[in-house]
Each structure stands twice: as structure tokens, then as C-alpha cells.
Amino acid sequence: MDASTSVETHHEPHEHDAAHEHHELGWWRKYIFSTDHKVIGIQYGLCGLVFLFFGFCLMMMMRWQLAYPGQAMPVIGKWLPYIFGADSMPDGKMTADFYNSLGAMHGTIMIFLGVVPLAFAAFGNFVVPLQIGAPDMTFPKVNAASFWAFAVGGVIMLVSFFVPGGAAKGGWTSYTPLAAFDDTGPGRNVVFNGQTLWLIGFIFLITSSLLGAVNFITTIIQLRAKGLTWMRLPFFVWAQFVTAFLLLLAFPPLEAAIIMQIMDRVAHTSFFLPAGLVVNGAPVSISGGGSPLLWQHLFWFLGHPEVYVLILPAFGIVAEILANNSRKPLWGYKSLVFSVLVIGFLSFIVWAHHMWLTGMGSAVSAFFQTTTLLISIPSVIILSAFFISLWGGSIRFTVPMLFATAFLPMFGIGGLTGIPLAFNSADLYLHDTYYIIAHFHYIVAPGTIFGLFAGVYYWFPKATGRKMNDFWGKVHFWPTLICMNVIFLPMFLQGMAGMHRRWYDGGQGWTVSNDHTIWGLTGFQWNHPISWAAWIMGLAQIPFIINFFWSIWRGEKVNDNPWEATTLEWTAPSPPPHGNFVHIPVAYRGPYEYSLPGSERDYTMQNEPVEPAERTRRKPPAEPVLV
């Protein structure tokens, strides 16, 4: 039997030896068009990291314009016109349209091409089947299809930079009616223009996450190892399980909205366009009767659960690393699990808190204010449980642990500064200012991205059999932590002073009428330290990049369980072969059995059977039974 047919029919009840099948696969099938969850996870991970860096580069360019508006960009300024077209950066000076493109694409790329692929698809794919003791995902081919749909979506998003008019400019939210008329008119192709390509790219990304979500949930339900009951699942698996449901159910309404916006742009319908619209001084020939609010509702119906898609996997990663490095069980495992489930549910009914300014009416606002405040309760439970988990532990400050512990206060700042935004009276003032930017970046940048870095350092030995260098990890961590705070803390001040988030001149014009200073600097002048911190943080990623690639081939070789962890993925060889486990694991205990009293080591793995002696140590003597 040749290689291709053996893969096609491997689910058939054949008698051949399944274990050595993968040796027959060619290089392309093994590393590129693979159906192995680990390879797909790594593909997602590398793509996600590249997109994260690309999205960050877009932002570093914007930070120049914000700090030094209208000035030619030094060094790279004269090269950029050759890349993005002469219209975007004439003489190295950024145009307003190009600035808007960068802003819209920074958001889109960071969220949908960077964090989601990395947090959900990469870690989920690589770690979840290993943690539940499964040989692979339930639908390996669907899994590969998910990655390739993502790749096509990513390519379409990148291509959109190079069509006439450049990439989408309507913000990552693409509010109509503005977005419906962006990139239309003379010189713009009906399909190959920034905004339409953005919409089409999204359809592929949504398809990708749909396929991924179906696969994850089915895998977690069906392929748990023997003995791995629901309450023995590592918290990371729970977090991915809930995340998958969010993606499964929240994305399709956005897909519906995207289909309608494509119809508005290509077939000239009026789903989101009210009657009597005047564009560039001329009335447009449309039927009208549509509703701009409808887009916002459908967008934020995804948009809010999406926030939890970004943060829940990071919670999961941080939970694993905290338990492992504090050498004690995660505090309040059950409350963590129920909190994450409650967050999953509530995240579907808070979306309109992004829309306080639209005049939805006080009854609707009151409802969404209430649910928004309710959702802070499970979030606080999770964060508190994490803090309490550290209490009395013998903490090992490994590199993953540094990132995981830094996550806690950073996410805390992001979360607590969100509470004023939950009240519509406070939000009326803060809406669309830099305060909002600071708030949600504290959650996703030093929050989620620190969680992701922690995860990369933590599971790197499982994927490669080698450890990333500790020293360079710390060189990566400390400047990144400091720069993150120099970037985002002043934005709270700028926002409270009234700076609008979408100003192309960084607030220079506004400073003329508002020269009020904060700690000696005007709102506009604060852009200088922020921008310099952003560029220094860019440099601080170089140790990570070098460390990452160097360690793949030259890193210190380690055993299968270098962190002395307890969950099932550490029972597999590093890197795990096709099919993952040498012996199918059986789980006998919960996921975080660290420092078990009476045990020789300070960790007991999930696949270690419970000894009779241990059973008596763990349980109080039974009550005498009266016959």
C-alpha cells in the first residue's frame, strides 16, 4: 500500500500496522500538508508569531506619525513607498489614508491572524490532544482544512495592502455606512479593493475557526483518555473548550453581517445604509431603509465573545504554569471551571456595552450594564484563585513563570480599568479615547501576549525536546514588561484628558486648544515616551526571535518532563511521535497533584496509579457503618 492511500483509509478497520505508517509519508505530507495535530499546531504557531510581529510593525510605523506628525520617517521612510505604493508614503511622510489602513489592519491582524491562531489554534492543537491523552484530533483532515483556510484568509489580508487604494481603512470594526463606501469609486476594482478583500478574507478566517472549534469540542468530548473524567481535565483544556464554543457560536452572526456588507458593496443593496445618504456631496443611488446599528449589533455579537476568545486560552496557559512553578495544586479548581463556564455564557449577552453612544435607549443600556458588571465576577474569581495559588508555594521563577506572574497584575489593571467603561455615564466621556486603547491593550498585550510567551517557553521542550535559553528569556522578559507599561499607562492619562483614539496627528492640533499638562507633558507630548517605548520593545523581541530559532537546533537537550509537571502531555516523548504516546495513558488522579503529603517527589503525574497507602492518607477514616 503506498503512502497516500494508507492515509486515506487509516480509519478503516484494516489489519496493517498503524504505528509505523507515518514513516512512509513524504516531506510535503509530513511538514506542510500534514494532518498531524502537532504539525498543524506548530504551523499555526509560527504563522501566528509572524503575524503578531507584522501587526506590531504596523503599529511601530503609526507610532512615528503620532509622535512626529507630518515628518518624514527616518531610515525606512524612503523604502516604504516601494513596498506600499507611492501614494501611501510620499517623501516618507504618512498619508491619512495610509494611517487609517495601518490602524484597521493592526487591529485585524493582531486579533484574527495573531492572537487567535496562536492562543486557540496553535496551543489548542498542540497541547489539548496531548493533555487529554488522545492520539490526534477527531477529524485530522478537517484540522488541516482549518489551517489552510486560515492561510488563505491571511494571504488575502496581506494582498489587500497592494491593491489600488491600499488595505481596509474602516477600523477593525468596519462600521457602516462609512465602510460600505470605503475604497469604492473611480480607480477601484469592485472586488479587488481593500475593504472587500478584508470582508472576503474574513469569510476564510471564520471558516477556519468554525472547523477548528468543531474539532476541538468533539476531541475533548470523545478522545479523553481512560479515567480522565471532566473534573480531572487540566484547566487549560477547560479554557479551550469554552473558547471553542465562543468561536463556534459567535462568529457566524459576523459572517452573516459580512455577507450583507459584501452585498451592500458589490450588489448595492442597503442592509446597513439608511435612506438619503449623501457621499462626497452627492446623494447615492440606493434604496435605503437599512440600519447602521444592525452592523454594530452583529459585529459586537462576535466582538465581545472574541475578547474572551483572546483571554481564556491565556488564563489556561497561566493556570498550568502557576501550578507547575508554585509546586502546589491550583487553588479552587472547581470554582475556576465554573467561572470559565459562566464567563462563556455571559460573554454572549454583554455585546451592546460597546455601543453606549448609539442611543439604544436606557432600558437596553440598563440590561447590558447589568450583565457587563456580572461578568466581572467570574473574572475576579479566576484572578483571585490565581493569586491565592501562589500563596505558600515554593515558587520557581523560570522564564514561563516570570511571564505568567507578570500576567496577573497586567490583566488586573486591564480588567479593573474596564469597570468605569461598563457604566454608560462614565463611558460617554471615555468612549473612543486613548483610555479605551489602554484598557483593552492591558488585557490583550501585557495580558494575553504575556500568557502566550509563557506558553511558548513552557511547551517548547515538548515540541522540540530542547529548552529555550533562560538568560536570553530574561533579557526578553524585563524590557518587554517595562516597555509595555511605559506604552500603555500614559494612555490612560491621555484618554482622561480627552484625546481621541483615531486622531491622525496624534492630538497635535487638539493640544493648541488644550495645553493642560500631565506631569509636565501635554497629552500630545506623551506620545514621545510612548513611541520610544514601543520601538525599544520592538528591539526587545530580538532576543526572543534568536533564542527561539537557536534553541530549536542548539538548545539544551532535556528529558520528557523538564518542568516536573503532572499533566499527561509530559508522559509522551519529546517531541511526541505520530500518534503521540508510546503507551496509551490512563488517568488516575486530578491534574495538579503537586507536593502530595507522604509522596517522595513533589509532583505526582496523572497516570500514576493511586497506591492503597496513599488512599488512606488522603481520606479521613470512614465513619463506622451501622448495619
Binding site: 498503524a18 507515518h22 478522545l223
Partner: protein
């Protein structure tokens, strides 16, 4: 390496993998069409008086298509049951019936219903000119009776020049004061031979019944179009399962083919169910 529970059930969940997968996929599809249907509700509630048309679709044809889809849902269950009883011949015929129903549905939709709409013309009259066309609109009587005003004249576009449209009127505009025209008809009434002349300067907007015509047709074409793509997808999958390639699977492992028919049948029922919502929303209400 084998993935467990692709064909047999996992004891504690009682399910095989694809069955969970398809239900999750359908949950996602519910949200997709749910998004579109909520858009329909939003747009309909927001529509200005007279902007949301009634009775423009062909109800008997829609009813027939509904019956065809329901029939196909029955035949696909029979196909599955035949496989479970290991009667491949019967399976083959029931599958053929299912595929035919899908093809008939699509043909009716694409070759008859949609083109009919593309040939139908409607002109929205400017508010200030409504009085001028009172004989086609009958608004005095409608206001008296508390009915929604008419602001559109529909029919077949006979001819047009730079100044005016000549329209062969629909009965509703030919006899606007006839009480029988207050409600849509089950059997569509043919276009009359009464010709109305409408001056272009009185017209707010006039097009064929295309997605651009109003938000009603925009939703109609978008939702039935997406539904049609689902029907097409289902038909293609069924054709694959009906072709000899699947017979080979049947000979190797009949239960595997039965499972495949079961999950695609579930999808087919869902597509049918969506139509059960589409039909009243657009044809009847």
C-alpha cells in the same frame, strides 16, 4: 494510528465522533441563519410605511418547493434506514429520490422564481407626487380604513424613454380600490393589460425586483441564495454517497456509509428547517 470512535460509539458518551461534529456544525449554522433572520426582523421593524412589500412572491410555487424539500427529508431517512437494514438497492433508489428533490428545488428557484422577479418592475413614487397617481394607489380609501399607504407602482415595464415609464400594471395597482386587493392572494394574479404612464421626475427610485430594489428583496435574495448554496452542497454530498465509490465503502464497512448518510441527513434536515422559516417569512407574512 487510528482515531477511536470514528464508527463505533464511545461507551460513556454513547456517540461516535462525526455525530457530535455535525451537531456542533449545525449549532453554528443556526447562528449564521439566526444572524440573517435577525437582520430581517431589524429591517422589517425599521421599514418606513409602504416600504416593506407584501404578496409579491409566488405562493403556490413556494408551497410546492416546501413540499418537495419535506419529501426529500423523508426519503433521506428511508435511505438511511435501508442502509441500516443492509438493503443497498433500496438505499440507492431513495438516495436518487432525495437528490432529484434537491435538484428540482434548485431548478424551480433559479430557473423560474428568481428570473420571474428579475422581469418584474417597481417604481417608488416621491411623497409629493403620490396624489398624482392616486388612481393607481388608492391611498384615500386605505387611509380611511387604517391600512398602510401604497407608495410603489408595480408591473411589467412596457417601455421607457428619457421622460417616462410605461408599465403594464399589476392588478393591485390596476384596481387599487377593490377590497379584494387589500390582502395578498394565494394564487398570483397575472399582470393586467392596463398601461400606466409614470413620469420619471415623480419617481424616487425604480428598478426591476433585484436585491437593490429594497431591503425586502435584498434579504430575500441573500437568504434564499445562501439557503440555495446549502441545498447545492447537500446535493453534491449525496451524489458522492450515491456513486459507485460509496458502494465500495458499503461493501467494506456498511456501518460507516450508514453513519455518513446519517450525518449528511442531519445537515439536510437542517437545510429543510431553514426553508420552513424562509417560506412564511418571505412568502406569507
Amino acid at each position: 494510528m487510528e482515531i477511536p470512535y470514528t464508527i463505533s460509539t464511545r461507551p460513556d458518551t454513547g456517540l461516535w465522533n462525526a455525530k457530535i461534529g455535525i451537531w456542533l456544525f449545525l449549532a453554528s449554522e443556526v447562528m449564521l441563519f439566526g444572524g440573517l433572520f435577525s437582520a430581517y426582523i431589524f429591517l422589517r421593524i425599521d421599514a418606513a410605511p409602504g416600504m416593506w412589500p407584501h404578496g409579491l412572491l409566488n405562493v403556490p410555487v413556494g408551497t410546492m418547493n416546501t413540499a418537495i424539500l419535506i419529501l426529500s427529508s423523508v426519503t433521506v431517512v428511508l435511505a438511511w434506514a435501508s442502509l441500516k437494514m443492509r438493503r443497498y438497492r433500496a438505499y440507492w433508489w431513495y438516495m436518487l429520490a432525495t437528490i432529484s428533490c434537491g435538484v428540482i428545488f434548485l431548478t424551480v428557484k433559479l430557473a423560474y422564481e428568481w428570473p420571474q422577479k428579475f422581469e418584474h418592475f417597481g417604481a417608488y413614487i416621491k411623497p409629493e407626487a403620490l396624489g398624482k397617481y392616486e388612481k393607481y394607489l388608492g391611498n384615500e380609501r386605505r387611509v380611511e380604513k387604517g391600512l398602510e399607504p401604497r407608495i410603489e407602482i408595480t408591473g411589467h415595464l412596457h417601455s421607457q424613454n428619457s421622460k417616462e415609464y410605461e408599465v403594464a400594471l399589476d392588478p393591485v395597482n390596476a384596481e387599487p380600490d377593490n377590497p379584494a386587493m387589500d390582502r395578498p392572494h394565494f394564487f398570483p394574479l397575472p399582470v393586467t393589460d392596463k398601461i400606466a404612464t409614470i413620469e420619471k421626475e415623480d419617481v424616487l427610485r425604480a428598478t426591476m425586483f433585484l436585491p437593490t430594489h429594497n431591503t425586502y428583496f435584498a434579504s430575500y435574495f441573500t437568504i434564499t441564495g445562501l439557503h440555495g448554496m446549502h441545498v447545492l452542497g447537500g446535493v453534491l454530498v449525496f451524489i458522492y454517497m450515491w456513486l459507485p465509490v460509496s458502494k465500495r465503502l458499503y461493501q467494506r464497512n456498511p456501518e460507516h456509509l450508514a453513519n455518513r448518510v446519517e450525518v449528511s441527513g442531519l445537515f439536510w434536515h437542517f437545510v429543510d428547517l431553514v426553508w420552513i422559516f424562509v417560506f412564511p417569512l418571505f412568502y406569507l407574512l
